[in-house]
Symmetry: C2
Subunit: 355 residues, 2 copies
């Protein structure tokens, strides 16, 4: 069991060893640890060695010059200069919020970035400014469009954070695939079968084998099959891809650069690196703040008190589960799986730092 | 079989008889017929008598004063003055596009409106201005959140239209429920069973009875059940509800006004009427137009040529099916079901116009 402060401190030191400037190492380690705190274990310290390998392969620039390459009063395109998405993300979200302060909303499409951790973290940066925050990113292709057997889209998440008054904020953060790869990895460790509708084999037939993805199969878009709306999940994943990568000039669709360093980037990449998209909307650009917040409180309370199917499981509001886990983990610490712990230990050895 | 011009002309006359000003009757009939043309038969002339009944019940104002009640350079809140959503929608989308022309993007949240037809129509208005168009709306509650047995959200659709170059545009338009009510109505007529995952009974148990909704059951959010991501569909429907109704001051969640005139509006409505949300983003606020369009062409061609599961069914790009139907129906006309035809005939009789 580790405190989040111990883990964050270790991650900070690793990023410093990679050559990140202090401020960026600070930012990146906070972003990464937010995943472990919120219970999205697949996107936290478990990924640290992956970032290190990408840096070793020359695909992450530890000291990027993040800059606006085109802008209007409410928009910008940002070049992440191959930096850590964990740093490029918050920097770009800040630009969106600055624009929202001036003209009501701000929208930033980002190219030449890398994996940015959990989408929810970036969207939540807007909350303390009384803004609605939106974040999305494209990602390594793993998902097959409806009727296709080819991996064409990433799990391309969408996050939307909306401030409330006395109630905690509404925070939706979800992949546009039925189930993300992390869930298959859990089943691989347990030796279990995947539910029908998560994955298909390399011929495009439904499968319950959690290793199917490694054998040339694909994840399925939210909705699972045509009859249950997979074309809608395919639409959502496509919108995220286009807003994040075509609008910015990043690499899109099946050309999105892979997160794992042992897979090469495509020779014919149509753009630069991975793409993200961020939005910030000032709530007082629409309604007086207090008025909006009191209605959000009413919305949240009404949904939380919706009649439940099972008396033991009350209806949740988006953001509830992650907030509960975060509070627990702040209080009692974060338990790491043995392979993750070993991974961090070898990083400690490599960089000669204490873990 | 009717030509779309015949049908549009008839709808125009009905709206004139309701007391719409000529320009608004023109706008509303074009919006409505776009649904019949694009194959979304549930949202076209089949709904005309429903609008008439709402007007008779005093819930639709045929001559609304649509006005901006609050704004910033990139945002506005519009009061639809209880007008037809078919008119309030395009008027509000125009405001979003005007703002985008000035500052790059425009975002309009609308209160005090009514059913606006198909979401896709409004988003597509942006295409001819080389903008990305976004539209969404809340709607009468029919969908139960994950773990709930209560109808709390509408089928709350999202539409996103993105311009391309030589290729036709990308147009996604989908409800955030697994299947919309119109699909259950088709099964009711046919006497068939619904696939598992579309609907639940009034106790919250899975059902295949297409009449379940009328017996106190509910539609399920995109994803169908928790294991297949229904919490993601619930998030999406909630985001549409909050952007459309809480941001604007419309009535939200289970209080959204019902489309059918025989159901009363809630006594304790927290806002005014139905809500919509529109967005317009100038593509040259991000990239030079030609550059963006050539990459969209490449995106579309790559997805359309993605390896298909079945050689007979090639992979589609969002907007393909509706565009094909529209071309067919422009050429050969629109076939109406007998009940819809009878419905229009009684309207003709009521208003003493020729059908």
């Amino acid at each position: 069991m580790y405190t989040h402060i111990q883990l964050k401190d270790f991650v900070f030191k690793v990023f410093m060893k990679m050559g990140c400037p202090t401020e960026q190492a600070e930012l990146a380690s906070n972003t990464l640890i937010s995943a472990d705190l919120r219970g999205v274990d697949s996107h936290g310290v478990a990924r640290l060695s992956g970032y290190v390998r990408l840096w070793e392969a020359g695909r992450i620039n530890p000291n990027p010059k993040i800059e606006i390459v085109h802008e209007t009063p409410s928009t910008a395109v940002v070049n992440g200069d191959a930096g850590l998405g964990l740093v490029v993300g918050p920097a770009s979200m800040k630009i969106a919020m600055d624009k929202a302060r001036n003209v009501g909303t701000g929208w930033v499409s980002v190219k030449n970035s890398n994996h940015f951790g959990i989408a929810g973290y970036h969207s939540m940066l807007a909350l303390k400014e009384d803004m609605i925050g939106i974040s999305m990113t494209n990602a390594s292709p793993l998902v097959a469009p409806t009727w296709s057997k080819e991996q064409m889209l990433g799990t391309n998440p969408i996050a939307v954070a909306i401030p409330a008054g006395n109630e905690p904020p509404f925070v939706a953060d979800f992949a546009t695939a039925t189930a993300a790869n992390g869930k298959l990895e859990i089943l691989q460790r347990k030796g279990g079968k995947a539910p029908t509708g998560w994955v298909q084999d390399k011929e495009g037939f439904s499968s319950t084998d959690p290793y199917e993805l490694k054998n040339g199969g694909a994840l399925l878009p939210l909705g699972s099959d045509r009859e249950h709306g997979s074309h809608k999940g395919y639409c959502l994943g496509s919108i995220v891809d286009i807003f994040s990568a075509v609008l910015s000039g990043a690499s899109y669709g099946p050309w999105a650069p892979p997160f794992v360093s042992f897979l090469p980037v495509a020779d014919d990449m149509p753009g630069e690196g991975l793409g993200h998209f961020f939005g910030a909307m000032r709530i007082d650009a629409f309604q007086p703040k207090d008025h909006f917040k009191s209605h959000m409180d009413q919305w949240i309370k009404r949904f939380r008190s919706a009649s439940a199917v099972d008396d033991q499981e009350s209806v949740l509001v988006p953001g509830d589960p992650e907030r509960i886990i975060e509070q627990e983990r702040i209080n009692t610490g974060i338990d790491l799986l043995k392979p993750v712990e070993d991974d961090l230990k070898s990083l400690a050895e490599k960089f000669e730092i204490i873990f």
